[in-house]
Each structure stands twice: as C-alpha cells, then as structure tokens.
C-alpha cells in the first residue's frame, strides 16, 4: 500500500482566546492522494480555513499528526520539511491582500524562483516568469511583467497568486476560497484555469469553499468533506454528496441553497431546523454538535454521545448516529427522505395578526 500524499490523523487545533480555548478543528482525519481534488465545504466557523492552513504546514496542530508521504511533518529534519513546504502551496481568498503592494509581478514571481535556485540569472528568470504567466492565462505575459498589483483586476491578481504558487512546482495547492471574491462572470474562467493545471500538471487540490455549487463543478470527479463546527460530518464522492446527501446538516445545506431557477427553487420547501442560531465556538454543544438544530435529534443519544465518522457504504462516511443506524443497522426502515425538503411551515408560524392591522 502506498502512502497518501498528505494525511491528517486525528488533528485538533485549539486557539487561545480571552475566555478559554476555541476548538477550531476537532479530531479531523483526512487523506489526499497525489493529483486528487478534495473539497472542504463549510460555513464560517466550521474550521475549514484552519484545516487548510494545517495541511499547508502554516499552523501546527495542537494534537494529532500531519503526514506527508507517511512522515510526520513536525518531526521531519530541515531538508525534508523544506521539500514538503514547497510541495504544498496556498492560494488565498482576497485578491487585494494576497499580493504585496510594493512588488511588481516580476519580483513576486522571480523571488521564489531565485531563492530556490530554480533559475540562473535574470534572463532565465524573465523567461520562466513569462512562462508561468502564460500558464495561468495572463496573456500577453510581457504586459504584466512590471505591473504592480494595484494595476491589475481582481481576477488577474488571483491568477498571479496561482502563478506564484506554481513557481516551486507544487504537488498540492490549498485553494482557500480562491474564487469567491471575484465576479460571477469571471469566476468560471478562473476555475477552468485551475482545472487545467490539475489536468496538465497533475497538481492536486484541497479546495476550500462555502459554495456547494463551486464544489460540485470543480470536484465532480473528486470528493467532498463537509465540515461543521470543526468536525467533518460527511465525506463522500461529489456526485453522491450532491444528489444523495446523508448527514442532516448536508441535507439542510443543500435544501437551503437557492437555485438560479425560479420553479426549482420555489419547489424547495422550508428549512426544518430546530434552531436558526449557530452555536458559538466557545460553547460547542456536547454529543453531536449539530444536535440543537438537527431534525433527526434523539434525546439521550445525540446530546450525549459524540458520533464518529463511520462508513455507511464502500465510499461514504457519515458522522450521525441516526443515519448510521438506519443505513448499516439491520435494514433501513425507510429510504432516507430528503430531510431538508418539507412543506411544513416552521418559520413564520406566528406571523398571524400583524398583517391585518397594519394601517
């Protein structure tokens, strides 16, 4: 058996806060093969960005281990750590903060090339930088060489960020919401560029997003891990996750997303959550952290015992007592009905009188 490229093994991350610790990532285990695309999907506070930084070696987890080709990165010798460091690169969300305003595109791209001895002399640096610019579809590349970041549009800056990640020939790129701050009309072409890197250069991606539509499009042949309050609650191949979600949280998410199709979206019913409020990371509920909002909640079970991420078939993992019991227990009593979709009005129940008397 070959070792995966990157593996997180029971990784947790606790941040110090004024009032005790904040558990941003809680016992997460993931693994990524070379060239694979894995999407981390979750809302703000789900720990997806922190997980991404742990994978990129920018944060050291408070417990658990991060392995690169089977070796714990925090116990590597210097040379190996450097090799790992270069193998995993990161592309950030904010195109306005991810490039140093005082450097030109050339300096930004040539610095890592020269630092790691990948080019010799200025001429070679220029040639390689032009090549990189062309790779990320910034054409004609010459016109971008000596531009400052503020002279570029948001989409162009993101492309420079990607080119910068490519300077060290990485095997994995952690893309942290890399497309969410550019306009819709430009987003797709950025995604296409990334997809081409995967196909042509064999770069793997840890693609972090809050947008399931993007995850669906970018990782159709890959897998998606859904995170909630620091834990992975569902982990499965993308088509299965989108079309047959298992965890009540995933189902709620999919049911909640408005569709760009009036008929389809209005057919989606109301959310059936027990509470609208997301618990604070300072007070994560005991047992299953989703239990205060979960429609499948069973008292005495979900609020007491923490569900493990368990396989429910050969490809999918779910962390839910009820779903796991139904799918793997004797025989499921009823086919899992799409929980999020229902016509029962839960929200807006007491809107009764106001309309009548409004003057």
């Amino acid at each position: 058996m070959t070792e995966p490229l990157i593996a997180l093994d029971h990784v947790s991350m606790v941040f110090k806060a004024r009032r005790g610790g904040v558990k941003a990532v809680d016992d997460v285990s993931l693994s990524l093969e070379a060239g694979e695309v894995l999407c981390l999907v979750g809302e703000s506070g789900s720990g997806k960005t922190t997980t991404g930084k742990i994978v990129a070696g920018l944060l050291k987890p408070t417990s658990g281990s991060v392995r690169f080709r089977g070796q714990d990165i925090w116990q590597m010798d210097k040379a190996r750590f450097k090799a790992y460091r270069r193998a995993v690169q990161i592309v950030h969300q904010d195109p306005y903060a991810s490039l140093n305003p005082i450097h030109t595109v050339f300096t930004i791209l040539a610095t890592p090339l020269q630092r790691h001895g990948m080019v010799r002399g200025r001429a070679e640096a220029v040639r390689r930088v032009l090549e990189l610019l062309e790779t990320v579809d910034l054409t004609p590349p010459e016109s971008f060489l000596f531009k400052y970041p503020h002279q570029l549009s948001g989409g162009q800056r993101q492309r420079v960020s990607i080119a910068r990640a490519l300077t060290v020939n990485p095997e994995l790129i952690v893309a942290d919401e890399a497309t969410s701050m550019v306009d819709v009309s430009i987003r797709v072409s950025l995604l296409n560029t990334l997809q081409r890197l995967r196909d042509e250069l064999g770069v793997g991606f840890l693609f972090i997003t809050h947008d399931l539509a993007i995850a669906k499009y970018f990782a159709w042949h890959g897998r998606v891990a859904v995170m909630y309050l620091g834990r992975v609650v569902e982990f499965s191949p993308t088509p299965a996750l989108i079309n047959d979600p298992q965890h009540p949280y995933t189902r709620a998410l999919l049911a909640a997303i408005p569709e760009p199709d009036p008929d389809l979206t209005r057919r989606k019913g109301k959310l059936q959550l027990r509470s609208l409020d997301i618990p604070s990371l300072l007070h994560i509920p005991p047992g299953c952290s989703f239990h205060p909002r979960c429609p499948l909640f069973e008292a005495g079970l979900c609020d007491v015992q923490r569900p493990d991420l368990v396989p429910i078939d050969e490809k999918r993992l779910v962390a839910c007592h009820v779903v796991a019991r139904e799918r793997t227990g004797t025989i499921a009593k009823h086919a899992a009905s799409p929980v999020g979709i229902s016509s029962d009005p839960v929200i807006g129940a007491d809107l009764g009188e106001y309309g009548k008397e409004s003057s």
Binding site: V14, F15, A17, G21, G45
Partner: protein, 361 residues
C-alpha cells in the same frame, strides 16, 4: 480564524483556582486598568528610588559629604542626619532601604525638604499641586472639548474655507513648542505692546486674596491662570481638532451613518449619537500622551509666566538641588498623569459598550 497562539496544554489542577481568579480580573476592564495604573506607579516609584540612590553623585552621598567636610560631622552623625531627611537610612542594605522607602510612600510620607529644614515634602506638594491641576486640567478640558467640536465642524464642512483655515492654524500651533508660544505672549502682549499686565498676572492668585470657594477668589484664580491655560489650549487644540476631523471623516463613511440617514433621523441626532459619539472614542487613547504633554509642559510654562504651580517649584527644587522635593514632585506628577489616564479609560469604557463586555484592546 485569526487567533494567534495555540494553547499548549490544559493547566494542572492546583493552578486552576488561581487561573480562574486571574481570569476574572482580566475580564473586568475597569479592574485591569486600575491594576495597570497601580503597577505603573509602583514601577515609577521604584525607578525614582534607584535613580536617587544609585546615580553617580547621588544626593545622599553628596549631602553626607557636605556635612562632613563643611560642618565637621562624623560619618555616623552625618548618615543619621541624612536618614532623617531622606526617609531612608543609607547605612542599611539597599533592599531594606527600598522597603522602608515604599512603606513611607504608602503612608504618604515623601520625606523632608533639604533646603527648607522642617518642611515635609508633602506640604510643599499640597501647597502648589492644586494650581497645576487647576490650570493644566482646565486647559486640557477646554482644549479637548473645543477641539472635538471644531474637528467635527471641519469634517462636516471639509474642503471649505473654515476647514482649510483651521487646519492651517491647528497644524501651526501643534508644531510650535508650547514654551515658544508662551515666550511670544510675554514678549509681545506683555512687554512690547503692554496689552497684558504680565507682572500683575504672576502667581496663582493676587496677594491678599483669601483662598476659598467664592466667586471673587475663583475669578481671581482664573485671571492668574488665564495665560498658562491659553498656552495649553493653543498648543494642544490643533492635535484634537485634526484627530477628531479624521476620526469623524472615517465615521461618516460607516454604514450605520448612511443607514441612520436612510432611517430619516434628524441631522442633529445623527451628528450627536451616531457620528460624534463613535468618532470621539478613538481619541481617548490619545489622552495619555496629551496629559503627559501638558503636565510636562507646565514645568516651562509656569516658569515663563511665573505661575506658582508644581512645575515652577520643581525647577526651583532642581536649581537648589532639593532632592527629596524633586523626587516627591516627580512622583506626584506621574501619579496625576496616571490618574488622568485611568479616568479617560474608565470614561471610554462607559461610552463604548464593546469594551465593557469583551475587554478587547
């Protein structure tokens, strides 16, 4: 997520209680500020002790030497004499002296004046401190209030004639050292033009006035303090104005101000409760610097106007090498500035609900 340092390990059990107590202290903004103020005063007191005790040519040795060489004292007699004056005994180990010094300070005992035998430093301070507090405090207050008002006007009328004029005047007086302003006032308005009865305005109040809380005395005190106050106001108002202007400008950009206008609130209400109150908050952090600056400036200003406040006496003590008085005055000045800062901090926490709860910086 942007928290910085990861927590290492859960604390051991015995530490928990202590940690909880510390936690409670750190959660209370007011308590934290009071502790910080106390710590500052303690550190300054310590610093002062070691300066006085350890500097080359420290006053105790100088005094003992003087007694021996000029008055023929034996070393022991001289040392005893010095001990009485300095509130510590130079023959004892340093740490014992330090402890005695701290205990004396806690009792409010600053020792005795060297130059005027029999006068406790405390009484010197009590005689002159009120006048500095009065003039510098009033100057600071007037300058702050006037500054934020003018700053808001400048922001509301930005790029207008008034804005440009006030910016120019404000920058000018902010740059020019306050004692130069005082000198110019004395030279021009006092001596050359003779518009101001500069000699008559000297002192903290007119000779023969009975100090008391009556109108006649207060107006007399104001008359004597007018020039120092004017100088403080002129030289600090520029900073307040410019700070308030930029703070107001950025507050005007805030969403809640646009929303308040969308809500149809009256302009006056928006200006006071939505713009003004939020814009003034960042200025409180400048109070530390400003209070220190005004009190520090009082040393020169009081000398120029011959206003008998604590700064005037400090210079006098330095010129006469009256070390206990110097030390006492320096401590009391620091204490006043720390107190002013504490006051500003507490006021700030009253005005900003976010501080009260989270205690963030």
């Amino acid at each position: 997520m942007r928290q910085s340092a990861p927590v290492a390990r859960a604390p051991a059990i015995p530490q928990l209680a202590a940690r909880r107590l510390l936690g409670a202290v750190f959660r209370s903004y007011a308590l934290r500020r009071v502790l910080k103020a106390a710590l500052t005063i303690y550190l300054v007191a310590t610093l002062t002790f070691f300066i006085v005790r350890l500097m080359p040519g420290n006053p105790v040795d100088v005094y003992i030497h003087t007694l021996i060489s000029q008055y023929g004292f034996t070393y022991d007699d001289a040392a005893n004499q010095a001990a009485a004056l300095f509130a510590f005994n130079p023959n004892e180990p340093l740490l014992v002296q330090y402890w005695a010094y701290l205990r004396a300070l806690a009792r409010g005992d600053f020792g005795m004046s060297l130059v005027s035998p029999g006068t406790p430093v405390t009484s010197v301070i009590m005689t002159y401190l009120p006048w500095t507090l009065f003039s510098a405090g009033l100057g600071l207050l007037i300058s702050f209030l006037l500054g934020i008002m003018l700053g808001m006007v400048m922001a509301y009328r930005r790029e207008g004639v008034l804005d440009h004029l006030l910016t120019a005047v404000g920058s000018f007086f902010q740059s020019v050292p306050n004692y130069l302003v005082a000198i110019v006032i004395v030279v021009f308005f006092g001596v050359q033009l003779g518009w101001l009865p500069i000699t008559e305005m000297r002192g903290a109040y007119s000779p023969g006035m009975q100090p008391g809380l009556n109108l006649a005395f207060i107006s007399d005190a104001l008359y004597h303090a007018a020039l120092p106050i004017l100088t403080y106001v002129l030289t600090t108002i520029g900073a307040w104005m410019l700070l308030m202007k930029s703070s107001t400008l950025s507050t005007l950009e805030e969403d809640y101000v646009t929303v308040a206008r969308a809500r149809g609130l009256r302009d006056g209400r928006i200006m006071r409760s939505y713009v003004g109150r939020n814009a003034v908050l960042p200025l409180f952090t400048q109070m530390a610097i400003s209070a220190g600056f005004v009190v520090g400036g009082s040393v020169v200003i009081e000398k120029i106007f011959v206003y008998q406040g604590i700064g005037f006496i400090l210079l006098d003590a330095i010129n006469r090498r009256d070390y206990p008085v110097m030390q006492g005055i320096f401590l009391i000045i620091t204490f006043a500035v720390v107190a002013a800062n504490l006051l500003a901090d507490l006021l700030y926490s009253r005005l900003d609900p976010r501080i009260r709860v989270s205690g963030g910086e």
